[in-house]
């Protein structure tokens, strides 16, 4: 009996407990003793007590039993030696497991007189639509049969215990319904735990991501010294030589970091003034009608996928700027088709709605009393904006700019297409440079072995990027929070 049946039965028990609980609690309504909780709280409590412990048990049980099964299979397999038919233990376990799954498709009669060799078994499985790897060995067949038997037994035991738990929970909850039972507090406590659990998931995921990157980064630094990575000025990973032990390539972070920061700077130089001024216009000058049209349109820009911006830069803007510069000098173009300037410009356009939307919120959050106070003293609108509103909103705007900057640093698709992949170290904004994100994409999209430094460097780059944006976000949040305190 598959696990889903047990889960369904447990849910049915929960629903029944809900209905019974509700009825039993309703009996007390209007009695001599004032009821502590309203009937639906009793009902929910009965439902939760019937389902939650049982389901949690099933989850733990199935995780535990799969671990146990793995040990169980491994114990029955012959010990791994250099001349084993299957060279790798985990590969061997995988073969047994898929064989066991295949056997489940066969009917009982066939299973009773199972052939002893895989050569005879294979056609029977193929007839059922099961294709198995050809290096499945004969000795695996009895192991697979035993595996199926053990896992069936485990599953049945777990399911029955789950059902007993569920019934017991329902019974305890329904019997416990008294006028003064604090069902509401119980239900609310469980809801609280559920909310806490949800918020923990995000944190745990972050921790998981960081840890997984960190371990790969350690592997990378085992083959490349820290100083070569952080202070190296040459990026030359030598793909061609990957795997050859003597030439590890050069993994200098500096050109990439410089490219990342340079492009982000150009993008901010475009996005911040334009975004800020459009925010001032929308928050302070625009009539309601104009605002209702302009603001959603501007935010539409934020909805365009970044790869589309990248295509725009690659196909339209880059060649246009190159031709324009060629026309200006009358011959040789001084702006390359792929350049920091092009990438920064397009990324800046992408970031305009981010800046303007955040700043608009911050400017509108400046209390009306500030505007009135200034206007009431005979200040003009622009004086009010310059001298009162922007200073009051400044910390928030700085926070918004930093948040925008960390987006610019993390942006990938635009720079892949618009800035090129050449890891130069230059100050000329019209030349190609590349960024950390582009190189991560580059290093991971080859078909290299996963444990070569050429691949592992992606994790070191990733964690560097993570740390840089994390610091910017922390600073931004700190500033925004400080700003909030001002009016409270």
């Amino acid at each position: 009996m598959p696990m889903t049946y047990f889960i369904a039965i447990i849910l049915v028990i929960g629903v029944v407990a809900y209905i019974i609980g509700r009825q039993r609690a309703a009996v007390h309504t209007g009695g001599a003793v004032k009821q502590h909780s309203r009937p639906h709280y009793h009902a929910w409590w009965a439902f939760l007590l019937a389902t939650v412990p049982a389901l949690l048990f099933l989850i733990v049980w199935s995780v535990g039993s799969s671990v146990y099964l793995e040990r169980h299979i491994e114990a029955q397999l012959p010990p791994q030696t250099a001349d084993s038919a299957v060279p790798n233990r985990s590969l061997e376990l995988g073969l047994v497991r898929s064989l066991a799954n295949g056997l489940r498709r066969l009917d009982a009669a066939t299973l009773d007189k199972l052939p002893a060799t895989f050569a005879e078994l294979q056609p029977m499985l193929v007839a059922k639509g099961v294709a198995l790897a050809p290096d499945t060995q004969d000795y695996m067949i009895p192991v697979a049969v035993e595996t199926n038997r053990a896992s069936d037994g485990l599953r049945l035991t777990g399911g029955v215990i789950g059902l007993i738990l569920s019934l017991a929970g329902a019974g305890i909850a329904v019997r416990g319904i008294q006028p003064r039972t604090r069902a509401r507090n119980n239900v609310e406590r469980i809801v609280l735990w559920a909310l806490l659990g949800s918020s923990t998931i995000a944190i745990l995921t972050t921790v998981g991501i960081v840890l997984s990157m960190l371990f790969e980064t350690f592997h990378f630094f085992a083959s490349v010294p820290l100083t070569n990575f952080f202070f190296g000025t040459v990026w030359d990973p030598r793909f061609a030589a990957a795997g050859a032990g003597d030439s590890a390539g050069q993994f200098g972070l500096i050109p990439l970091l410089a490219g990342t920061l340079y492009i982000a700077l150009v993008a901010l130089l475009v996005a911040v003034p334009i975004g800020l001024m459009s925010a001032v216009y929308m928050a302070e000058y625009a009539s309601r009608r104009v605002r209702s049209i302009v603001k959603p349109t501007l935010e539409l820009l934020a909805g365009i996928p970044t790869i589309v911006y990248g295509i725009f830069a690659l196909v339209t803007l880059g060649p246009f700027l190159r031709d324009l510069s060629a026309a200006l000098t009358g011959g040789t173009p001084f702006i390359q088709a792929q350049s920091i300037f092009t990438a920064g410009l397009v990324m800046g356009i992408m970031l305009i709605p981010v800046v303007s939307s955040l700043s608009d919120d911050i400017i509108t959050a400046v209390p009306r009393a500030m505007r009135d106070g200034s206007l009431g003293l005979g200040a003009t609108r622009s004086e009010t904006i310059k001298r009162v509103i922007l200073p009051a909103a400044l910390p928030g705007i700085v926070g918004a700019v930093l948040l925008t900057a960390s987006r610019a640093i993390g942006e990938t698709m635009i720079v892949v297409l618009a800035a090129g992949v050449a890891a130069n170290l230059t100050l000329n904004p019209f030349e190609a440079m590349t960024t950390i994100t582009v190189k991560i994409v580059n290093q991971l999209t080859g078909d290299l072995e996963f444990n070569s430094p050429q691949t592992l460097v992606a994790f070191a780059l990733g964690i560097t990027l993570f740390v840089v944006t994390l610091i910017m976000n922390i600073v931004a949040l700190y500033i925004v929070r400080k700003y909030r305190e001002q009016y409270e």
Binding site: R371, D372, G373, S374, G376, L377, G378, R387, V388, A392
Partner: protein, 274 residues
Amino acid sequence: MNIMTEQKLEQAVGASMTAKTNEVIKMQGRKVGVFYGEKQALFDVELDIRQNQVTALIGPSGCGKSTFLRCLNRMNDTIDSARVTGKITLDGEDVYDPKIDVVELRARVGMVFQKPNPFPKSIYENVAYGPKIHGLARTKADLDAIVQSSLQKAALWNEVKDRVHEPGTGLSGGQQQRLCIARAIAVAPEVILMDEPCSALDPIATAKVEELIDELKQNYTIVIVTHSMQQAARVSQRTAMFHLGYLVEEGATDKMFTNPDDKRTQDYITGRFG
């Protein structure tokens, strides 16, 4: 600062037969109506504001007294949907005349708001804000003098003279409100409008602000909106009673509080409605 031309004086006096010879009409509303979108909030208000006197506007919530106050320095312009009809004059000049610059008008008719709203700047910067905008001080010493005298006039100087460069938001509520009054005075206005200036203050701070208002009327014309009958009685010489967007009755404060003509005024003053 309030020297009027002979002609203007005559005009102003002529405009209202109720003014005594020693009283000058500073501001005047004729058939003032205000619309917020389609809804009319104020109907045909006729009111004179006398120079160097305190005029109190009273009435239940939503009666239009704040709306009228905000017409006097065109603060209603900042509300998109608001539209003002009728005529309001300052020294005989129509304040809604297109030739009048609203910025200049607001420098002449200052405003203090219900909730103290100091800018998140230092005390000094708060007071210096207006003079800087209007270029009233040529040198730093001039500015210092304006700030000091404004704070003195607002009876705040002694409390803050050692910390004028600390943030204005760090003061207590009553001090903040006096700071806002100092800020308004610093621009050297002729009229000061006060929209329930004490409603966010405790009784002690209220007493200080009221005392201040009484002193300020020597040099300024003051219009105050208040919900407190006692306050209107204490600080004002003239009282105007609003109800449902209409001016019910206007007259000398003594008379209004002892022997009002209108039943609604009597009911309101004695606390029977509103």
